[in-house]
Amino acid sequence: MRRLKLEPWLLILPVVVLLLVGFVLPVASVLLSGFTTPGGGWTIENFTRFFESAFHTGAAMRSLRMALVQTAVVLLISLPLAYAMSRASAKVQAFMMIAIVLPVMTSVVVRSFGWVILIGPAGPLADIPGFLELSKSRQGLLGTELGVNIAMVQVLVPFAVLSILGVLNGVDRRLEEASRTMGASFGRTAWSVVFPLAIPGAIAGGTLAFAMSISSFITPNLIGGAQIPVLAAIIYTDATTNLNWPFAAAQSLLMLIVVLVTIGLTAKLSARR
């Protein structure tokens, strides 16, 4: 009904206006400052400098690669986890939610140093790199992309689970039962019936995870250190330590474009299905 559909909007119109106008405009002006010289004139020098610096483009590619890997792993973990939760009782579901959200609630410092213990030279996972031949040194996974990815996945999983769970809670259980009676095992049912129906939630959760991953720099810094410079950390340093505002803004704009393009591609792909 048209009338009932419009009414909620009247209620929140001020909020939406505040959010969009009050936020988009200043962010846009900050981003635009990427095209200015420290003196105030217009230039594209900040962008040429970025593309000419192997350090910067290397960090950008690394950030992109890590964000993609993390998002893929997050979805691989979150889909079955959310599926199991959606089929549990409300009580178990709440308990599980707390269990996976709890890590996010601890200080990033504690969380990261938990991982330092686990994957550091004396930790139980220290031999993985030798075994995998990813690193010749005896420092465990500290200072490796794999180490950062493991720590980041844990931070991102709760958000993806939340998003997928919302969709799966609404999927009719009888679809699974129908599939089972027609000769599909549990695994094939999950693969052919449940996961395809969870795609909208996986897209939303995956997008969120990707965006959060690419803009994170505390965890990469604490686990990866100077060996794994990521773009978000470089932007932060440029803005707060080097006080080179236009350059930081230019890099942020590039990062935002990458995120938007990724979202656009995902949306296109999922719409074609």
Partner: protein, 350 residues
Amino acid sequence: MAELIISSVRKSFGETEVLKGIDISVPSGTFVSLLGASGCGKSTLLRCIAGLETTSGGSITVGGQDVTDLAPEKRGLSMMFQSYALFPHMTVLDNVRFPLRMQGKRYGNRAKQKELAKQALDQVRMGDFASRLPRELSGGQQQRVALARAIAGEPRVLLLDEPLSNLDARLREEMQVELIELQRVLGLTTVFVTHDQDEAMSLSDQVVLMRDGVVEQAGTPEELYRRPRTPFAADFLGAANLLDVSVEIDNSRATAVLAGGDTVPVRTSNSGAATLVLRQEKVRIGDPLSTDDSVVTATVVSRVFRGGEVQYLVEYQGAMLRVVANGESMLSAGDQVELSWSSSDALVLS
């Protein structure tokens, strides 16, 4: 030989015992209805047969194979749900192809599977809709697709959980005819769950009437309707009037004494307290046809026009009885009427 044998099946949810030892044997190719009110356990029993619920005791045998502890996908059955449960992300054809795909090599390659799925769709006259998505179909069409999907995998037993209850009255009647024709043509052993006694009687070879987790009575529709063993069965199988009577036997002639002191002849060999069962269509309003008929006087309480007939609620000595007259009958509340019935139509259950 019986295709499906259910033997002493029990099922409890926590403290609640929903099935209290069910024994049913379904011969190959027959259509059996599980009939009962909501909560009688009929749906739970169907889910136990499908393997969607584990049983708490007893065994289930399909085609001679004990399937009691098998996972649902290994039982070779198929089930059609009240909500149809079509996969919303697959086309109609892919929905119907699903059981073939899941059973793998048995149905050949992709092209062969599609051909078989198309045939199943044609059987329910939905061949033209193969490339649609379920949400683009009407309720009746979705129902046909669900049926095609259920039969495509050549199930050993077809399980139907109130598949017609979401359809409106006219569509439902149409689908009943199609369902029964398809079942006969394919010779499918079918178990059908319903709460509608009319549907159960018109479709089934055998009706299993359930009540509170036990089988109240099982038999052909005619048997259940004509020779109910309990007042509950008599009442459930068709609008029956139940009167508490006291039976006296004198010289092998039985007489029932009604609440008002009226006595009517009955056919029974047990004396004492009993229930007199009178089907509403066996009770005539007005003069008796034969002098042997039982006659009592009652008062009209209400009149409901039902098109072909008029249904009256009449009061006899504090008991409310339902009787029907033809559509032109115009009695009104308060009128005194004579009710009569042949003693051969009055059933006594003690």
